[in-house]
Amino acid sequence: MRNVDEVNELLRPLARVEPGQPDSRASGTGARALLASITAQEPGVVPRGPGRARRHTLHGPRRLALGVTAAVALATGIVVGPSLLGGRGAAVSYANSAMEIHLEGDQYVARIKDPFADHDKYTQAFHAVGLNVDLRPVPTSPNGVGKILGMIIADRGSSRPDPEATPDPSGPRFNGVPLSMETTPRGCQPGLDDHCIMVMRIPAGFTGDVDVRLGRQAKPGEEYANFDSAMAPGEMFDGVRLREGRPVADILAEARKRNLTVVFSLIRMDAKTGSMSSFDPLPADRVGPGWIVWNAWQVKAGVIRLLVTPDRLPENPFYNGSAPPPAS
């Protein structure tokens, strides 16, 4: 058997905070605010236990004292009842620190409070109410925030989208109930604005699988998942038109006007099929001013990627049916 010293020596490196090295975090802003908020209360109110204390403090003066920087949030695992309605044997309500989901009428309403949370937290909540929803918030430009960037609905059981003459922009419908996404307050930016919540509505009778990629505010330097929206309204290259292809020099001037950094990718064409086979990053010094720009992607805040060929092609390869045309 290992002796005390050996055990200690094995365990010390596992400590998240290295033993024996206090460095006076009590003077940090958060620690000082906590002290102030605690001592703003009446001392000597003896709670019966920690659980009791927590509930008292949340509604007590501490909440007021921390008012500016603090918000009360629900955390981990609040499950309400087995469903009497759906008969799935699942809960009708679930909440964790990342999101909460409730049955409201004929829809499950999922409120995503923390768009930066671990993906598993969402899965856990959807599964708790018997929904197979795989929700992945992905970083986007401000305009992509709160929008569905991609949704795959797998038919299973009775869940098939209703046939539609014109697609409903808010999402497909199942038995007349839409599967939709929005932010509340309307138009707010999850991950950027405080108290901005993404709301996803799923028909209660839905039995299929949904994979959703949902835009959230990119952190500084984070690359955008909605890279192909560069020329859409409100985006970095709003108003730039590349349908017919334009010379690199023109587009560089445009980018300079907008204070954007430019990177390049070379479009390679497949001679046999006439469609694009790859996009290869290319150093700027290898791109001539007369090369042709066929498309622009937004890489991250302030950075645009131009997709170029050395020579003019007979047609814009992004519009020849081999790839979805760019958003504009």
Partner: protein
């Protein structure tokens, strides 16, 4: 008031470290710290004198933590600054590496009680008497429990193929690579 503030400043690091070493997420650790000191304030009249106050706080933190883990219904006070400061403590977390070491895995497989005893010695650096005071055990009972915890840990390490003494020391050192 002055005494509580002094105690807070003296023990904040220790309680924060205690919570951070035991919570997977900084937000949870921030909750544990906030709640521990809130309880201490509410029971400021019960605070034991001198050095024992720290052990008493550890004991409160331990209960808060257990309650936190147990509790299915939980509300939390959320302070961005406190969370951020706590997250700093996690910055060099050994567990944030790609793989947990064998030792860590073995350690995590122990019971909560065993882990707590072993880490109070190894991480908080508490002596037998202090742990006994904190847990409200007789010194003898505590020694027996600690002995058994060490024995179980040692056996689990053997089963996981972690060699004793000389070689085992190379493993934790290698983790920082």
């Amino acid at each position: 008031m002055a005494r509580f503030e002094a105690l807070y400043r003296e023990t904040y690091d220790q309680i924060a470290a205690y919570a951070a070493r035991r919570c997977d997420f900084p937000q949870d650790a921030a909750d544990v710290v906030a709640e521990t000191f809130t309880i201490a304030w509410r029971r400021v009249a019960d605070l034991p004198p001198g050095h024992e106050a720290r052990l008493w706080l550890y004991g409160v933190a331990r209960k808060v933590l257990a309650d936190h883990r147990r509790s299915a219904v939980r509300q939390r006070l959320h302070s961005v600054e406190l969370d951020a400061e706590m997250a700093d403590l996690y910055a060099n977390s050994p567990d944030s590496g790609i793989e947990l070491s064998v030792i860590s895995t073995v350690f995590r497989s122990l019971s909560d009680n065993d882990r707590e005893l072993l880490s109070l010695v190894a991480w908080e650096g508490l002596g037998h008497e202090e742990i006994a005071a904190m847990l409200g055990l007789s010194r003898n009972a505590m020694r027996i429990r600690l002995y058994r915890a060490r024995k179980r840990f040692s056996r689990a390490l053997d089963e996981a193929g972690v060699p004793s003494t000389a070689k085992s020391r190379a493993i934790p050192a290698g983790r920082s690579l």
